[in-house]
């Protein structure tokens, strides 16, 4: 799930889990997870049956959720305790096993957060989020604050989680398109609260359909000669204020292809070919 800050990607993934507290409200629509409609469930049902169990979210602020005065194992006990009554020894062995499976040192379980490096903390938090083997793991900007080598370690762990079938599917939210290219099968691009394009990663990256997706992708700068040759694209203006978005297509004020239709009627997300979708009347 890609997009610039403010596009709504974090709000979307929290809503997907019905982690919705005022002032955020779920206005309309349904959310189906593994055949179950979860949008009408109340918080206690969600805690019992969904959160951590069907779907787990590692939010952007995950590292700050770790209490500095609690060891990792205590944090785990708290988290699991929320979902079920289990014996501490069972939780401890689950945790040890999971850490082992993910090449995390068992000693980390008995350390305080400040004793662990940023990368280790992040991997520990992700490991904890998978303890009850949720089918879907959602991670929101898990590597933005990490240096590139630590980032790669965390990404490898996420890929390993899937390979080991500990989780089945993953939604990775980030502004970093090069990271998505390395691990995502499918990319969805958001702008101003809307999904503007989605499809298989390579198709979208090498041949974007939506003008915003095109600009965003061509603004990515990696140390590759192809990028130098391609040049960098920028779009004038900035994303709209969501309190008062433009009528019609939200991107039209900045779009090089905007026409009258774009300014008056909002385009829906439609299939453009195969498994590719775009919300545009004049896709490339």
């Amino acid at each position: 799930m890609a997009g610039e800050s403010g596009c709504g990607k974090s709000t979307l993934v929290n809503t997907l889990m019905i982690n919705v507290k005022p002032p955020l409200h779920l206005m309309d629509g349904t959310i189906t997870l593994d055949g179950n409609s979860i949008s009408k469930m109340d918080r206690s049902m969600l805690k019992k049956k969904v959160w951590g169990i069907l779907v787990s979210l590692v939010p952007q602020s995950a590292l700050s959720a770790l209490m500095p005065t609690k060891r990792i194992m205590d944090f785990i006990m708290d988290v699991i305790g929320h979902h079920m009554t289990v014996h501490n020894s069972d939780v401890a062995s689950m945790a040890k096993k999971r850490f082992e499976e993910l090449n995390l040192p068992g000693e980390a379980l008995y350390m305080y957060p400040h004793e662990l490096s940023g990368g280790m903390k992040q991997r520990a938090v992700i490991a904890v989020s998978t303890l009850l083997n949720p089918k879907l793991l959602i991670v929101d900007e898990p590597t933005s604050a990490l240096d590139v080598s630590t980032q790669k370690q965390v990404l490898k762990m996420l890929v390993d989680l899937k390979k080991a079938r500990i989780i089945e599917s993953m939604i990775f939210v980030t502004h970093d398109i090069a990271v998505l290219r390395q691990i995502a099968d499918q990319i969805t691009i958001m702008y101003a609260g809307k999904i503007v394009e989605s499809g298989p990663t390579e198709d979208v990256l090498y041949n974007p359909k939506h003008p915003y997706a095109y600009s965003l992708i061509n603004a990515v700068v990696t140390p590759e000669p192809e990028v130098r040759k391609r040049g960098l694209t920028s779009i004038s203006g900035e994303p709209p204020n969501l309190l008062d978005p433009p009528g019609g297509c939200r991107f039209h004020p900045r779009c090089p292809r905007a026409a009258d239709k774009c300014r008056s009627i909002e385009p829906s997300l439609v299939r453009v070919e195969g498994s590719r979708f775009a919300a545009c009347y004049y896709p490339y």
């Binding site: 390395q182 990515v220 140390p223 960098l232």
Partner: protein, 250 residues
């Protein structure tokens, strides 16, 4: 009880390099590499424990009079990461531009038209930004105003510390272009301080890589990416996510 132990951290260790006129250099490193400390030393914001900064034949740390310091700060200009921090939120943005005139000792009549000209050079419409307060403008606009200052100041060397990291992705390329044009129009030397190897590769004539306070690699972008010498550079190159190639061990 309060027992203080003073620990010394060697932030920058034996770093030596040269910037030629009109050259675009990037100092690349991750946090803790010492790149920002190096930039502050060059800008005379931090004093080195040893070593010298020679600018146009003069040792910068021997400059004493206000006259000499002003000369230096006219020639060597800093642009920082947070485009909001460079502005006083209580003043209209016009101030940062007109301030330049007192720095260069200029009180000509056509100050207004110079300011408007500089704003246009950076792709801003004077009527859109003059008279506004910093919070009324976007990060990209604020950063462009900082670059507009350079059109007024015409420094010989610009040090830009992470100039685009706090700007929206869709607006970044525009600001990058501005720096390239600055160099083209004013033959200014530019030193970019950044953690972004991709950005450095794209804009620089030469890349210098810093790791834990030391300069570990130096070369053209292609040299650094194709024939890295230092293990840190090799690792960086392997770990940076690319757009056109997929990581093998995944």
């Amino acid at each position: 009880m309060g027992l203080f132990r003073r620990r010394e951290i060697v932030a920058v260790n034996d770093v030596s390099f040269e910037a030629k006129p009109g050259e675009f250099l990037s100092l690349v490193g991750e946090s803790g590499s010492g790149k920002t400390t190096t930039a502050k030393i060059i800008l005379k914001l931090l004093q080195p424990t040893s070593g010298s900064i020679i600018f146009e034949g003069k040792n910068v740390w021997e400059l004493r009079s206000l006259e000499e310091l002003r000369w230096y700060w006219r020639q060597v200009h800093g642009i920082f990461q947070d485009p909001y921090a460079s502005f006083n939120p209580l003043h209209k943005i016009d101030r940062v531009l007109y301030q330049v005139f007192s720095l260069i000792g200029y009180s000509g009549a056509d100050g207004d038209s110079s300011v408007k000209e500089a704003l246009r050079e950076v792709g801003l419409r004077p009527e859109d930004v003059l008279g506004r307060y910093p919070h009324e403008l976007s990060g990209g606009q604020r950063q462009r105003i900082m670059v507009a200052r350079c059109y007024l100041l015409k420094p010989k060397l610009i040090l830009a510390d992470e100039p685009i990291s706090m700007i929206d992705a869709s607006a970044r390329a525009g600001v990058v272009q501005l720096f390239l044009r600055l160099r083209e129009h004013l033959a200014t030397s530019i030193i970019f301080i950044t953690h972004d190897l991709g950005l450095a590769y794209y804009v620089s004539n030469r890349i210098l890589i810093m790791y834990k306070g030391s300069l570990v690699e130096e070369g053209s972008p292609d040299e650094v990416m194709e024939h890295p010498q230092h293990p840190y550079t090799k690792r960086l190159r392997e770990d940076v996510p690319l757009l056109y190639k997929k990581w093998s061990e995944f």
